[in-house]
Subunit: 328 residues, 2 copies
């Protein structure tokens, strides 16, 4: 009988440090989570990363010698020329020597990758894109994260700092993005963008039913409320969602035209809107994509694993081809 | 002593069928070209493709048994699900069974690839991107062709019909493109687009020096004239070129954000404008690209091989990893 293999995954976010043991069927068999307390010193954060990782191993009842490797999803990428973590806003890190910090902290080979890349890898291994070798994923949250799997491997560009799909141009000379550029996909397709457009629309049409509803109920509108109002047929909310879908479709059309992935996965809060989002989106993507009538467009589906995708993908980083652990 | 290897390349275009023998140093050692007469029957065109290919072998004094393979650059891609050539406007071909037509016509294994992909492969093997393994190329001509080399191999998307860089979106809901979509890169960065903008500008400013110059000299303006006038400081022409460069920079920024290639090569007539184009373009690309201040942008250089790039790339198709010759 073949020995079961176990992998240690760690998802480093601005809110939580979430660790898990993943088995070779890509199932999470144990988890442990602690708050990030992101404003502390680098040394303290690193200590906690190690601690929660050791903790989940102990909690699982496994010995660390039974673990194959330690995979870490970070909210930034590693510059393979310098081996530095480029930029993690939430921790105030810029060109941070992450490998030096983690070196020797656990008796395991370790692998680091951008969290969006871990998420698409997780969905491809065990989620909505299971069985697909060419996958494109967007996470539609506060920002727009993106990841690409080509032929079963995470694709991150020639220098490991590409595949930043949220910062491709969608609208020439358009809205200012968080990155300082103008017209990025993120500036139109993030939840933040949806809320910006809604706020602007409500100001323009204070007499609309949607504006009155928001006003009367004295609520802070959020993505869900906009989708709910659109579902009920509110024309203002419907117009906002329609425009949102057209922007997203145009963005996806660029990625299809370049990669022609076998499947597209959408994650993040907005993707929870289900068929109400996906059905018109599929139609718009077909309409907006070069050569769709001749060569079709890939299926577009919702992510399945939620936050687990990032941990599973991180845990299995050892299996991807590009290895950034300089010690191996 | 190692035997020299020879490759037979054929570039199939709407104007000419150009064949060449390429040696294993990627040098063209013999050439032969005949007009395409594109409006004839498929059988006649195919016969001529074979004839010019046989002809260049004979002209070179080599035996066909000394040739390694036959590589063909076509103005279309092959659908790997159907093995059909998808769409070649100039020949009126749509879903054309190219493999069946070429089968057994020459006693050589044969390989077919989109001509833009052959061009970037040629530049990477023997031209402006020699020695680079991750290359992105745009050909700025009547249309905008594009090709990508990832890790030394032509990248054409999961189904061989991707990498259509000219048809990625640059301007959301923008100008109509030849492909039927709106706002494609091609609709802003082709020579055709440059001429469209110029025509429109001259109509708007008939009293401008540039308009008068074009009018007085009774000339059909073309790309060269616009660049020449801009070089001489004509404000109208300069404005047109400035806008053109900004569009091109925004388009390139998307590709850099995704691929982070080691070098970008620009070919086609417009790229002949040299530093007058390249210097401001490099500046604009730096300004327009996500994270350029932290991670830089790749060098942008002019293509070196002209039309030979496509023939050299085609001849060497045997060396790339994805093989579409169903007979092998």
């Amino acid at each position: 009988m073949k020995n079961k293999k176990y992998y240690l995954g760690l998802d480093v976010g601005g809110t939580n440090l979430a660790a898990a043991i993943v088995d070779d069927n890509y199932q999470i068999i144990e988890r442990l989570k602690i708050p990030s307390n992101a404003h502390r010193s680098t040394a303290e954060i690193i200590d906690n990363m190690v601690e929660v990782s050791r903790g989940v191993v102990a909690k699982s009842g496994l010995e660390i010698s039974q673990i194959s490797s330690w995979g870490i999803g970070m909210p930034s990428c590693i510059n393979i020329k310098t081996n530095l973590l480029v930029h993690a806003n939430c921790f105030g890190w810029k060109n941070m020597p992450i490998y030096d910090h983690l070196e020797g902290k656990l008796p395991l080979p370790f692998f680091i990758e951008n969290d969006a890349n871990c998420a698409v890898y997780g969905e491809a291994l065990a989620g909505a894109a299971q069985g697909y070798k060419d996958v494109l994923m967007l996470t539609l949250g506060t920002g727009v994260g993106g990841g690409i799997i080509i032929d079963g491997k995470i694709y991150t560009g020639a220098d490991n700092m590409g595949a930043e799909l949220g910062h491709t141009k969608l609208v020439y000379d358009g809205e200012l993005c968080t990155c300082g550029q103008k017209g990025c996909l993120e500036a139109y397709c993030s939840l933040t963008a949806l809320l910006r457009v809604t706020k602007k629309t409500l100001k323009l049409y204070p007499q609309s039913d949607f504006a009155k509803m928001v006003d009367e109920q004295n609520i802070e509108f959020n993505g869900e409320i906009i989708f709910e109002a659109a579902k009920k047929g509110d024309p203002t909310a419907s117009g906002i969602i329609e425009q949102y879908i057209k922007h997203l479709a145009a963005g996806l059309s660029t990625f299809i035209t370049i990669f022609r992935p076998s499947i597209i996965v959408l994650g993040g809060g907005i993707a929870n809107s289900g068929d109400f989002l996906f059905n018109p989106l599929r139609e718009e993507v077909y309409k907006a994509t070069f050569g769709a009538d001749m060569i079709g467009v890939p299926p577009i589906v919702g992510a399945k694993l939620g936050n687990d995708a990032g941990i599973i993908g991180a845990a299995l980083l050892e299996q991807k081809s590009k290895i950034f652990n300089k010690n191996l």
